[in-house]
């Protein structure tokens, strides 16, 4: 099936099975390798992208359900002012360890700060607990979100 989807502001055409998850369309068809495969089951958040502005586990969404909803990935998140600030905070606070989870973390954090510009610790827990970091960089992920929220 041929699908035309909007990714990071550009229209892209792919010819894939309707049940192919968005994650694999991005990674293997469009060569956008920033979104990561961690579990394939919706449990780890490494594959988080934005669909219509909402943080979404791309391993769980078949391409056939995307329609005209705009998609943003880590490769394009710098176009979002909050995303760009989070990227800068991640660098400044040296958040990554292995780095494998961090694209998903930044995508989830961008979603959080878009809906709640001044999140409480409980808001951070609720929005970010779907994103596993096996290196346990959680202290700095929390600090990075607060750093941006406090306009530093």
């Amino acid at each position: 099936m041929v699908y035309i989807i909007e990714v990071n502001g550009s229209k892209r055409t792919v010819d894939v099975d309707p049940d192919m998850p968005l994650l694999w369309v991005l990674r293997d068809e469009l060569d956008l390798k920033g979104s990561k495969f961690g579990c394939g089951g919706g449990f780890c958040g490494a594959c988080t992208v934005h669909v219509d502005g909402q943080p979404t586990r791309s391993c769980q969404v078949p391409i056939s359900t995307i329609g005209s909803a705009p998609i943003a990935t880590i490769e394009g998140i710098a176009a979002n002012p909050i995303g760009a600030k989070l990227q800068a905070a991640w660098m400044e606070l040296d958040v990554p360890q292995c780095g494998y989870c961090q694209a998903g973390q930044i995508m989830s954090a961008t979603g959080l700060l878009t809906s709640k510009p001044r999140p409480t610790d409980q808001d951070i827990d609720a929005a970010m607990s779907g994103n596993v970091c096996r290196c346990c960089s959680y202290t700095r992920i929390r600090a990075g979100i607060k750093h941006v929220a406090e306009g530093k």
Binding site: V16, D17, D19, M20, P21, W24, D28, E29, D31, L32, K33, G34, S35, K36, F37, G38, C39, G40, G41, F43, C44, A46, T73, I74, E75, A78, Q87, W90, M91, E92, D94, V95, P96, Q97, C98, G99, Y100, C101, Q102, A103, I106, I124, D125, A126, M128, S129, N131, V132, C133, R134, C135, C136, S137, Y138, T139, R140, I141, R142
Partner: protein
């Protein structure tokens, strides 16, 4: 690019067993070629590599840009940043001018290129300082020649040589070509900086790939693309050691998008039965990974499950109980007369402990891209141990090692899993079979069900206290897993020097082995990650039985500062257990955690302390936890104090490693077990093995004490004390003793 235009003044230094050579680069810069000592100082054969096209370890370009190779795999431990910092410091360049490239695999040149055992720091700290210092001397010599002044009148700062007397200065870039003509200093005697003057070592330097990470650049193994590449999955027998009898290969091949499917028999692909080698299974190759993985739903394999299919965790536990009621089959240590001492003790304390198999749960599943062509193979892999991986592939394909080219990528976590190179052998076999480049990627189920697990274990302790509450007798019967009565590998062993050995007059350690074919291997802080839990929890039990403060009980047991030799015939004060260093970290963690005020904590909240010596690092940790009436555990705060020698090379990286290790240990204690039923692992994803999440992650304060010992590694030693400190905190909060991991919160209900 290095040429041999320059002076090739080889400098073989047998005392340090490192060799340095300088040459001019094509662009007119300086290239330093180093040949570093291999494992624990075993000499590399410099002659064999001399004259071959060496990769320059350090290059200084005419524009002043300094390129440094990072020799070891990066798996999140920060090594790609830390090792180049050491060279840059002694070379005396500005960190902003440094570019870092991953070194190719060549252990003949670079020494051991692994990420394991927290070895990178102790193995590389001095050799890399000497390489940097030698480069600096050559740049100074070039400037001195240029100005016709004595070299000792010149000094350096941030990539510039200065002659203060005359006020002249020249940049390293300008001097690089001339420096390449200078005599190479003797590495053994080259003058090193006084650590007090360090400008890079000891500073918080952020990860050198952070910019790529936060923008989603393709830097991990899973991101590798090779033109014409196909995608593969490999379905292995869920029962360890099982074989393929038959499979519906033709039906799979007929599926749309599937390129090929075939059976691999271990008898053909791994005739020597290498534990890391290929096991039986079915490969599916397709134009996309999704298509290959989906085709597995249609796969019908008849397995010959073999003798392991009756094994189960429950069965193992029953066997262990039976073994524990008898005598150990092997004596690991016997000091004094424990039986008589126990009879004479004022108080006897007995307890049995156990812990499960664990999976490494690296977030990036195992993968490898392989391209076999014309009798050679290129492999791209997030390997932790690429040298042995190269050997395994060479053996599997019957190639010479030189025809196996390994490109090490960044790894999305390692924790010891990628020390085994099974995924490389598989990808290599598949690429040769299909005659095309291929990326093999495991799914999460593959990753969790085909690991080299942290071995489970059981311990039965019996100890005696005298009438003053001092520990006088101690016995442990340890049950581990293996074959033929022997532990499966070193991860399944217990050292005869395990604490409190050498500190109790009457002590016996015995061992018995459960026969099992569950694959096991090293996991972050191998064996210490389990032994720390059982021994440090039992120590806490003893302190409470003696009605003593657990901290004071431990300090009394450690006694005065001295070194307890691992091998009495060969004392080595730099590597042996030093009771004084442990006392210091314990006292410091007590201070920063306000240990003495713990009596004022509210009901349901408690503090626990534990300590552990592993990988040459000394760590003491305090956990504060609150347990609700329903048994729910909230970890409030963790304090970590470590002594890893005279110098913390990158304080940011060090803090991250210590925090990460402590949280990793908590996650395992709270929610991780791999259980075996009918010879197979029952868990398949993160819904049944629970990684720690942000809402469970407490604040972790980390402090280091510096001591007058060589700097040592940090990937592992902060992990072992945290689980016992948590369980001891739970005891302080509830009076309930956790003797089995993961913690069963049902036992904590009020």
């Amino acid at each position: 690019m290095a040429t041999d235009l320059g002076k090739t003044n080889a400098n073989l230094d047998f005392s340090r067993r490192a060799l340095l050579r300088a040459s001019l680069t094509f662009g007119g810069g300086l290239a330093l070629h180093a040949i570093l000592p291999n494992v624990a100082g075993a000499a590399n054969d410099g002659a064999a590599t001399e004259g071959s096209a060496l990769t320059a370890f350090v290059r200084i370009a005419p524009d002043g840009v300094v390129t440094i190779l990072s020799k070891n795999p990066e798996i999140g431990q920060g090594i790609r940043t830390m090792l180049p910092m050491i060279i840059a410091e002694e070379l005396d360049v500005a960190w902003k001018d440094v570019r870092i490239e991953q070194a190719p695999l060549n252990e003949g040149v670079f020494g051991r290129q692994h990420a394991g055992g927290s070895n990178s720091t102790p193995e590389n700290y001095m050799p890399l300082r000497r390489v940097g210092a030698a480069g600096r001397r050559m740049l100074i010599a070039a400037a001195a020649q240029e100005w016709s002044v004595a070299a000792d009148e010149c000094d350096t700062d941030a990539g510039v040589v200065q002659h203060r007397k005359s006020g002249r200065s020249l940049s390293y870039g300008a001097l690089a070509a001339k420096a390449a003509q200078q005599e190479v200093p003797d590495l053994a005697s080259v003058k090193l900086k006084d650590p007090k003057t360090f400008k890079i070592i000891g500073k918080r330097i952020p990860g050198v790939e952070n910019a790529k990470i936060v923008t989603g650049q393709p830097i991990f193994g899973i991101d590798v693309t090779v033109p014409g590449m196909l995608h593969a999955v490999f379905e292995k027998c869920p029962v360890f050691g099982g074989k393929v009898s038959s499979a519906n290969i033709d039906a799979i091949k007929a599926l749309p998008g599937v390129h090929d499917a075939f059976i691999i028999h271990a008898t053909e692909a791994n005739p020597s039965k290498d534990p890391e080698g290929i096991v039986d299974g079915v490969v599916i190759v397709a134009k996309s990974w999704w298509t290959a993985n989906k085709a597995r739903e249609k796969l019908a394999i008849v397995w010959d499950e073999g003798p392991s299919s009756t094994h189960s965790s429950e069965g193992y536990a029953a066997q262990a109980e039976k073994m524990l009621s008898g005598a150990p089959s092997t004596l690991l240590r016997n000091d004094g007369d424990p039986d008589t001492a126990l009879k004479g003790a004022a108080k006897i304390v007995e307890a049995s402990y156990s812990y499960p198999f664990l999976s490494h749960l690296v977030l990036e599943p195992q993968n490898c891209t392989a391209h076999f062509s014309n009798g050679k193979i290129d492999l791209w892999a997030p390997a932790q141990n690429p040298g042995p991986g190269q050997k395994l592939v060479a053996k599997t394909l019957g190639l010479e090692e030189k025809d196996v080219i390994v490109h090490v990528t960044r790894g999305g976590g390692g924790f010891g899993r990628r020390l085994q190179s099974d995924f490389m052998a598989e990808a290599a076999w598949i690429s040769r079979k299909i005659g095309a480049p291929v990326k093999l990627l495991w799914n999460r189920r593959d990753d969790m069900q085909h690991d080299f697990y942290r071995p489970a274990g059981f311990h039965k302790f019996k100890a005696g206290l005298d009438d003053k509450g001092a520990l006088v007798a101690f016995t442990d019967h340890f049950i581990t897993f293996g074959k033929g009565g022997k532990p499966a590998n070193s991860s399944a062993t217990m050292p005869a020097t395990e604490f409190p050995a050498q500190l109790v007059p009457h002590l016996r350690f015995g061992q018995s082995v459960i026969e099992s074919s569950v694959p096991t291997g090293p996991m972050r802080a191998p064996r210490s990650n389990a032994l720390g839990f059982v021994f440090q929890s039992f120590m806490d039990e003893l302190a409470h039985a003696a009605v003593r403060d657990p901290l004071e009980f431990s300090l009394a047991l450690l006694g005065e500062a001295r070194s307890l030799p691992t091998d009495p015939a060969k004392p080595d004060p730099q590597r042996d257990f030093n009771t004084g260093r442990m006392r210091n970290v314990l006292l410091h963690v007590a201070e920063i955690s306000a240990w003495k005020d713990r009596g004022q904590l509210p009901r349901g909240t408690g503090k626990g302390v534990a300590f552990y010596f592993s990988h040459l690092g000394y760590f003491a940790e305090v956990v504060q936890a609150t347990v609700s009436d329903t048994g729910a555990i909230k970890i409030d705060h963790v304090w970590v104090v470590g002594d890893i020698g005279s110098q913390i090379i990158n304080p940011a990286g060090a803090e991250h490693q210590a925090q990460g290790a402590a949280l990793d240990g908590l996650g395992a204690a709270l929610g991780q077990a791999v259980t075996i039923e009918k010879g197979r692992v029952t868990q398949a994803n993160f819904d049944s093995v629970l990684p720690l999440r942000i809402d469970q992650a407490p604040r972790v304060d980390v402090e280091f004490i510096t001591s007058n010992f060589p700097p040592t590694g940090l990937g592992e030693p902060a992990l072992p004390p945290v689980a016992p400190a948590l369980c001891n905190a739970i005891f302080a909060a509830t009076g309930k003793r956790i003797r089995q991991l993961p913690i069963d919160t049902r036992l904590l209900k009020a």
